[in-house]
């Protein structure tokens, strides 16, 4: 399995190449309200990933054919900046960004109370400024903080986290080398308060035990990231002295 047998991803002391333990996340920082022009916005740094999300609306849905008479539609555009990776990315939509936009929109629709805004559109723009594996998760986290910042009613926020498998070991939060040369990747969108899952993708294969362990790591990491998300929103709206 794998096919990259000669790439070492675990060190002799059991830690990973960047010195993290197998259930250790990369450092995450979140800031809400970074874009003055948007109704709501957030910036997430997850390891070396940088994702910025902006939310506009609710507004009248255009073109008319996308309108739904009983609910709002969520229009997500995920885009990687040309300079976000080592190889320049050709600007504009591609197969991968379309897929990520679609899964992000569908998972956000499951938490946003879309039935409150019939015929409307909520526009979510996710821009990846720097990429190092796990951008869809960083993008979803940024999008939910931006939606909360915009005052859009939601059942819960979504936290994007991923686990995977390298050298037959389940690890939390793959970095670029582990994603490229590892055996599996399991990004999920978790609703932190209920533990429900809003989206789940799997690349590679995991046994049932490995899957359960990976999900355990993901739930643990989602709790940690959720605290950072709440803290970011609170920091933005701290009251001054009376």
């Amino acid at each position: 399995m794998g096919g990259y047998g000669d790439v070492k991803l675990l060190r002799e002391d059991g830690k990973r190449l960047d010195g993290r333990a197998i259930d250790e996340m990369r450092p995450v920082t979140i800031e809400a309200g970074v874009l003055p022009a948007a109704d709501g916005s957030a910036m997430v740094t997850h390891g070396l990933n940088v994702a910025v999300a902006a939310v506009y609306g609710p507004m009248e849905a255009h073109p008319r054919k996308i309108q739904r008479q009983d609910r709002a539609v969520i229009d997500v555009r995920y885009n990687m900046a040309p300079f976000s990776t080592g190889d320049r990315i050709r600007p504009g939509f591609n197969r991968r960004s379309r897929e990520i936009s679609k899964v992000t929109a569908e998972s956000l629709e499951s938490v946003v109370l879309v039935e409150r805004y019939p015929r409307s559109k909520i526009r979510v723009e996710i821009e990846i400024l720097a990429a190092e594996a796990g951008t869809r998760c960083a993008g979803i986290t940024a999008a939910s903080v931006a939606l909360a910042d915009a005052g859009i009613p939601m059942r819960d926020m979504i936290v994007g986290v991923a686990s995977g498998k390298i050298e037959d070991t389940v690890v939390l939060d793959l970095d670029k080398a582990e994603d490229n040369y590892g055996q599996a990747d399991l990004p999920v969108g978790i609703l932190p308060n209920t533990g429900e899952i809003a989206f789940l993708q799997m690349d590679g294969d995991l046994s049932i035990d490995e899957y359960n362990l990976a999900m355990e790591y993901n739930h643990k990491a989602a709790k940690e990231i959720h605290e950072i998300m709440v803290d970011a929103l609170k920091r933005r709206y701290e009251r001054g002295e009376a």
Binding site: D39, G40, G57, P58, M59, E60, Q69, V111, L113, Y117, P118, R119, S120, L147, A148, D149, A150, G151, I152, P153, M154, R155, D156, M157, L191, P192, N193, T194, M229, V230, L233, K234, Y237, E238, R239, G240, E241, A242
Partner: protein, 228 residues
């Protein structure tokens, strides 16, 4: 609706946060009841009044309701009606029958053109956000002078205060005529220096309205302007 800023520290909630058990209480705006618990659906301050738990949102889009006093800009003109931008998700419609003038078919443009501001009231809103405005009513008119500035919708109560107390103080302090629309638009009219002062005050509100410092800013202005 009052801000309820009395005494104790208010609790800031984020979407999905469990507020507490729902026994004996009712869910207000910004909350949903699920599995005998209240869950916040918006980012805001928790508020409890008469056993109704609600969230006062920190940031919200304007959602029109019938009876709202709004300041709108004409976005589109047809032969027998106008479409207004009222800061909501959809444009509002003003039929010529609800305009304060005797309008002939085809002469709508002589009364209000694109970009003109008007003070109107929302007559009705249906469940798909179609809105009808009326300009028949006391004080509803075309705004020919002064300036229209925007404030966040959730800060309207802060500007008005209890029974418009804060608004009267601002009017006195700035020596301007001020109308606060329910859609987050404020009309100011006065002489050039007074309007400048009023605009600066509203700028302060936009920047730090979510803090408790706005009242202090008004007091400072009153002291400063009182000395002249």
């Amino acid at each position: 609706m009052s801000k309820g800023q009395v005494g104790a520290e208010q609790r800031l909630v984020t979407p999905g946060m469990v507020i507490g058990p729902s026994s004996g209480k009712r869910a207000g705006t910004g909350t949903i009841a699920e599995n005998n618990e209240f869950i916040a659906t918006r980012l805001g301050w928790l508020n409890e009044q008469n056993d109704v738990i609600s969230v006062l949102p920190i940031n919200s889009a304007y959602m029109p309701r019938s009876g709202d006093l709004v300041i709108g800009f004409v976005a589109e003109v047809r032969n027998n009606l106008w479409f207004f931008d009222v800061n909501g998700p959809f444009q509002a419609l003003l039929p010529m029958s609800l305009a304060p003038w005797k309008v002939e078919f085809g002469s709508t443009r002589q009364h209000l053109g694109i970009g003109d501001a008007a003070l109107a009231r929302i007559q009705e809103v249906d469940e798909t956000h179609n809105m009808v405005l009326t300009m028949k009513g006391v004080g509803l008119r075309r705004l020919n002078e002064g300036a229209v500035v925007s404030i966040p919708v959730n800060l309207i109560d802060t500007v008005r205060g209890q029974n418009n107390a804060m608004l009267s103080r601002i009017r006195d302090a700035t020596n301007c005529r001020i109308i606060v629309g329910d859609n987050g638009r404020v009309w100011i009219h006065g002489d050039a220096t007074d309007m400048h002062v009023a605009r600066q005050l509203i700028q302060t509100l936009n920047e730090e309205g979510h803090k408790n410092t706005f009242q202090g800013a008004v007091e400072a202005l009153e002291n400063e302007r009182g000395e002249h």
